[in-house]
């Protein structure tokens, strides 16, 4: 904190606003925007990976793998995703503690599910009750990130499965005619070609992922929604910076943040779509070929 801000009640006007916006809690608030970006940075590739595995499994000639893949894809249809968010966060937490319970708790300890409680021996707690607050925060965040990756992975699997089906059959047959094995066709033709078909769906998914990030708040992570509520709530004279109920303005700020994210993504994805359409046997690719000729 700056020295001129030492006594906020004595200053007024713009300098008050400046001191207010640079207070310690506000700095935390600005960092929490990074939490959102970090979640996106972790979740997007993870979900894509989950989706790729899911889609590949759904196409597998091996029946159990195919059924597993198709179940994973079907999982997110028909049921609101927020239910999965709430469910997985508890279920994953309990699963992890249960596994640790099997490993470290002394033999003969009672099962964790007792009546209306879930309790493991102190050594099996994740994170341990003795670990620092930082660990607790990191664990909560990681749990949320894995949950996001699982749910969005199912959506990505749906998109990628459709894209793999959309690659023209003739291209795959040509590759086979050249004597490529199944694996080679998959690696050299199917995967490189499918992105052009997958991009519209994946773009849509990315937009949805951005708009899903405020749900972190529901999962108990101190994200931007949490801070907007905390900082915006009216503060009495007991606080350093007393003010009325300003939550409306904080939420307006969040709205603008999300609108900017959406707009920037739209522009970038539009450019990417152009790149991927080049030379493809699609309407967009054909239009580019004609424009160039």
């Amino acid at each position: 904190m700056l020295s001129s801000c030492a006594d906020p009640k004595a200053i007024e006007g713009l300098s008050w606003l400046f001191c207010y916006l640079t207070s310690g809690k506000h700095i935390d608030f600005y960092w929490s925007f990074l939490t959102v970006l970090l979640l996106l940075a972790i979740t997007a590739p993870a979900a894509l990976g989950f989706g790729f595995v899911g889609a590949t499994a759904a196409r597998s000639p091996f029946l159990p793998a195919r059924m597993l893949g198709k179940t994973y894809i079907a999982m997110v249809r028909g049921v609101p995703d927020i239910i999965y968010f709430l469910f997985f966060v508890i279920a994953l937490d309990q699963a992890i503690e249960y596994l640790k319970f099997l490993a470290v708790c002394p033999a003969g300890s009672p099962l964790p599910w007792q009546g209306l409680e879930f309790r493991v021996c102190p050594e099996a707690k994740v994170p341990l009750s003795t670990s620092s607050a930082g660990w607790h925060k990191a664990y909560g965040f990681l749990l949320a990130a894995v949950t996001f990756a699982i749910v969005f992975g199912a959506f990505a699997a749906n998109v990628l499965y459709g894209a793999m089906q959309a690659v023209p059959r003739a291209q795959l047959e040509t590759a086979e005619a050249y004597g490529m094995s199944h694996k080679q066709v998959f690696r050299r033709i199917l995967v490189p070609q499918m992105w052009s078909y997958a991009l519209p769906g994946l773009s849509n998914l990315w937009m949805i992922l951005i708009k899903a990030t405020p749900l972190l708040f529901l999962l108990g992570v101190k994200d931007i929604v949490y801070y907007a509520r905390e900082l915006g709530g009216s503060k009495t004279q007991a606080y350093e910076f007393p003010h009325g109920d300003w939550r409306l303005y904080y939420f307006l700020g969040l709205l603008v943040f999300y609108l900017c994210m959406t707009r920037v993504s739209e522009i970038l994805l539009g450019k990417l779509a152009g790149r991927l359409s080049r030379g493809q046997a699609t309407a967009a690719g054909e239009a580019m070929r004609k424009a160039a000729a």
């Binding site: 028909g78 239910i83 709430l86 209306l116 879930f118 749900l215 708040f217 929604v225 959406t262």
Partner: protein, 277 residues
């Protein structure tokens, strides 16, 4: 005190709208109680979904037409409205609307000597419904706008050739074709709108005397029993039923919209993920 399942249904079946037993169960949390209370909460999901879809349909048509209008005075506002509601999370929209509605003067607004009460707007049944109405209107407008733009050129030229123009052309050619082309997308919108209704009581709108929606009660049971494996699958089951019903109703409309086309050309409705808003 243990109740039979039928007694539980009588006591809690309409709990979410304030009819029947007021005290929530404290001890057993039987399967029957969970099914009944979560099902009772579903009344709210259906309420929000059906009403916002019904009202939103009309606004969506108007917005789609405005967005495809030539005059920038009509087009720009429509474009911005659609961008704001589609570009930001519904969750934030709920928060924002609630905070804005709370700021309205408590005593009511006086217009021409008549006092209009404002406190009801902060209740979920009104405030959240209003936000969902605007939100679904924006999403549906984008779908209808896309459909409007993909009406085959030949259809419009044929209308011109027959001397059909203006309102007649819109009523008899453009609008039905727009609906027909946009309907599969609109079906998805309806399904995911129902899913989005679960956000109402998880955003700012408080559930007065614990009268919430299906997810609210499921969360209540998961918190009380530390067992997420029963209540959440129950909500999931209820929502699969809702999804099936929506698909059936919208499928029937789709068949009617396409009744003049040859069988093999009829568009099938495919579910596309659009989950969180």
């Amino acid at each position: 005190m243990s109740m039979t399942c039928w007694e539980t249904i009588q006591a809690y079946g309409l709990r979410s709208i304030g009819i029947g037993e007021n005290l929530l169960p404290k001890t057993d949390f039987t399967l029957c109680q969970q099914f009944t209370l979560i099902g009772s909460g579903l009344i709210w999901n259906v309420y929000f979904g059906v009403l916002s879809l019904a009202f939103g349909f009309f606004l969506a048509n108007a917005l789609a037409l405005a967005k495809s209008a030539r005059s920038p005075w009509l087009r720009k506002p429509a474009e911005w409205f659609i961008f704001v509601f589609r570009g930001s999370p519904l969750f934030i929209q709920f928060f924002l609307a609630y905070e804005a509605l709370v700021m309205l003067p408590r005593a009511g607004i006086e217009i021409f000597g008549i006092t209009i009460a404002t406190s009801w707007t902060t209740k979920a049944w009104a405030g959240a419904l209003f936000v969902m109405f605007l939100n679904t209107a924006a999403y549906s407008a984008e779908i209808f706008y896309g459909a409007l733009r993909s009406i085959p050129k030949g259809d419009l030229e044929a209308a011109d050739a027959y001397g059909i123009s203006g309102w007649q052309k819109f009523r008899r050619i453009q609008w039905p074709t727009m609906l027909r082309l946009g309907w599969p997308g609109y079906t998805n919108e309806a399904i995911f709108l129902f899913h989005a209704t679960t956000l109402v009581f998880f955003s700012s709108f408080p559930a007065f005397s614990q009268r919430g929606d299906a997810l609210y009660y499921a969360n209540f049971f998961a918190d009380k029993t530390f067992n997420p494996f029963i209540p959440y699958p129950i909500v999931g089951f209820y929502f699969i039923c809702i999804t099936l019903i929506v698909t059936m109703v919208f499928g029937a409309v789709n068949r009617r919209l396409n009744r003049h086309l040859p069988q093999n050309l009829k568009s099938r409705i495919r579910l596309r993920p659009q989950l969180v808003r």
